[in-house]
Symmetry: C2
Subunit: 446 residues, 2 copies
């Protein structure tokens, strides 16, 4: 293992620093910065040859990763057991422990993910525009890697593999920064996939994992502009706020969503109830789950009694505005409720005058993630699609479909609610930049 304190930041070391299974949780701040700087410099150096690596070698690396993950399942499970023991000792909830847990099934899923990414088309080198100019210059706009991408994530160790393989396939070096509770699992997984990448012919150091669990490492990583081209923080609004203030590296936040379903006057009510139930209950912890239901006043009395009963039977806590509570008795929604992402079995409900009122509510309280209208009215469907400014806008479907696989982009590194560079599920293309290639024959500008 490369010592983080020996000042070797300028020295390229063929073996990457993931060979020690022990975390280094307590370090002097300078040593933390030096470790992050060292990883960033190694990744930067790897990025240059990596941009020229062929699709064939990248795919070979992905298949080799899949093989090695399965072959070394026992080693992974042993490392994961250390995290689980520490988690139990630290009083993590059973739900948290479950997110942390790796077993043969989950390892097989990670391996399958590697093979799926191998099957995706390589975005690098794709010609996306251009042509000959009147003066004979040949202009081509092509996709190229960004360079070095940092991924900051929490608890689930499978993200170590998912994030690394998307970066590799898109020709980017990656710096992984996982949650401290998964450090042993992450070190083990990173070691295995880095080894596979190297054996397949990818540059050494193209996959870096930050080993220290010191919180300062995240800050240092966010300030490595010039070495890191993009950071994708996959975490809550707290992480977003703390990083936005101090970051010098461009960031795309895979942020939260306050998603709405509006049931219009003309909706098919059984279908509407089915969609609302699915959007809220099927997986409430996700960012594309429903948080606020908006119901047209003319059908509220008809749909709400049975729908709310069904939701309550599924354990959903309901919070309604005055008009909702005039129909069904429930807890009162406070003004905070309209701006809260519950990520849990809680639903706020408002009765609105019409579609315009629903659109205005969404414009005020939405986070630009996923919004759906349930309607049989063609003009309203088209107007809702046009007027709502969000990453994904739906007609007669659950918001839960906002996902890279569901949209046909393949695997995703997260869902962006930003408008620049990438919006919605971020697949391989979101991890690329472009450049213009211009071929001439002695051309000068007049």
């Amino acid at each position: 293992m490369q010592a983080v304190t020996q000042g070797t930041v300028g020295v390229q070391n063929h073996a990457n620093g993931h060979t020690n299974g022990h975390a280094t949780p307590e370090m002097a701040t300078d040593a933390v910065r030096e470790q992050v700087l060292n990883k960033a410099q190694r990744a930067r150096r790897a990025a240059s040859p990596l941009r020229l690596v062929s699709t064939e070698i990248k795919n070979r690396a992905l298949h080799l990763m899949a093989e090695k993950l399965v072959q070394r399942a026992a080693e992974i499970i042993a490392a994961n057991e250390k995290d689980l023991s520490a988690g139990r000792a630290n009083g993590l909830s059973e739900a948290m422990l479950d997110r942390l847990r790796l077993n043969e099934k989950r390892i097989a899923d990670m391996a399958a993910g590697c093979r799926q990414v191998a099957d995706l088309p390589d975005p690098i080198g794709q010609v996306i525009g251009g042509g000959p100019r009147p003066n004979g210059l040949r202009v081509e706009q092509v996709r190229v890697p960004l360079g070095v991408i940092g991924i900051i994530y929490e608890s689930r160790p499978n993200v170590t593999v998912d994030a690394a393989i998307l970066c590799l396939k898109s020709g980017n070096a990656v710096i992984l920064r996982g949650g401290s509770e998964a450090i042993h699992s992450n070190l083990c997984l990173a070691k295995i996939i880095e080894e596979a990448a190297r054996e397949a012919g990818a540059p050494a150091d193209c996959i870096q994992l930050i080993e220290t669990t010191d919180r300062a490492a995240t800050t240092h990583l966010a300030q490595m502009s010039g070495l890191v081209d993009l950071i994708i923080p996959r975490g809550g609004e707290g992480l977003k706020k703390s990083l936005s203030k101090i970051a010098t590296v461009p960031m795309i936040f895979a942020a939260g969503g306050i998603c709405h379903v509006f049931v219009d006057e003309s909706a098919d009510l059984p279908s509407a109830a089915n969609i609302v139930f699915n959007a809220k209950v099927q997986r409430p912890s996700t960012c594309n789950a429903l948080e606020t239901l908006l119901v047209h006043q003319n059908i509220a009395g008809e749909i709400l009694p049975s729908l709310t009963a069904k939701l309550q039977n599924a354990g959903v806590e309901l919070r309604g505005d005055e008009r909702t509570r005039a129909i069904v008795s429930m807890q009162e929604a406070t003004s905070d409720d309209w701006d809260t992402e519950y990520n849990a079995l809680i639903l706020s409900i408002a009765v609105v005058d019409d579609m315009e009122a629903a659109i205005a509510h969404i414009a005020e309280h939405g986070t630009g993630h996923s919004e759906s209208i349930i309607t049989q009215n063609y003009a309203n469907a088209e107007k809702f699609l046009a007027q709502i400014d969000a990453a994904a806008v739906y007609v007669n479907a659950s918001t839960r479909f906002t996902d890279g696989f569901e949209f046909g982009l393949g695997a995703e590194v997260g869902i962006s609610t930003q408008k620049l560079h990438a919006r919605g599920p971020m697949g391989l293309e979101a991890l690329t930049s472009t450049k213009f290639l211009v071929r001439g024959d002695g051309h000068v500008r007049q």
Copy 2:
């Protein structure tokens, strides 16, 4: 004129605040912030209807702008004369005064620019991806406006029109922040084009010009996150540095370029000399002009004497490394020279061992703008195109072609050297985001 101190920020006023030709250079800081906030809120409100305005109305507005600019040339020239008088009184150089000057020819050029943008395809609503999914969901990825764009620029008042028309065509409200030396010209131009936009049916307030010349306005604008979606600062590295630190709004810098031409061993030397001369001399103040010439050691003795004589005859000051000065006598290049964007008739020259050394020099000192190789060697041409990480990479052509018109993108708002969202000349597409439209028939996720 709307008073900036009366606290009417929540009141929508049909007439926009550009009706007073007097700048307000000295204001209390609170009043400056309030003016910027007011403009941002007005732009935000205009952005919502503007995203639905048809191509027909946008084009009608552009043609009406062209007409009005020409009709009201005398009024524009009178306003411009105030700026010129103030500039003369403040001791602006003749070159600066020339940049500031508007005459009938330049006004006709602005009008022609409006008609050209009307002729460009409207990017809004373009379907750029998607299709039906196996479960029957219809997914479409379409281009949409960003919302509100701020443009910060200097001296040349024609940018007021150029920036506003690109934002209008791409469905974005714009907040213009021009240089204080052009304030009267900018106020007059903004008033005319805003009037034309409104008369054509575009929403009131979709074109906003910040009236105060107080420097604090730029800072406030950069911190209007939530109201402003993107700021494009068109200025030097100083502006970039000061804004990067304090901005909360995403920015794309139309930044400077340290551009290189590498003359390879196999270059056609007369053509190489022609390209180098063009890249340096044709318009040295631009960001795509040549700053550092790299010459292969095996042809340096042959090309440098005649080429440097030709450059010196054109008034170019030369600064060479040791190997260059062993061939031609000239001033010594210091280490700073390799990292300096002269924007003037100065050229630094280095003799390099081979193409790999040239690529390494560019990787170390380039700013990722425009880089060119002059060669007859096919393998070297392809390798240079692949390895150089820049917005535009050339073979056998002048770097001066990096430009929206030259690349066939139509007009541009600037040239980005960033890798995220937009790289190279930024045309209409760079001013857009995307969203996913998803149509279902009661779809729920399993």
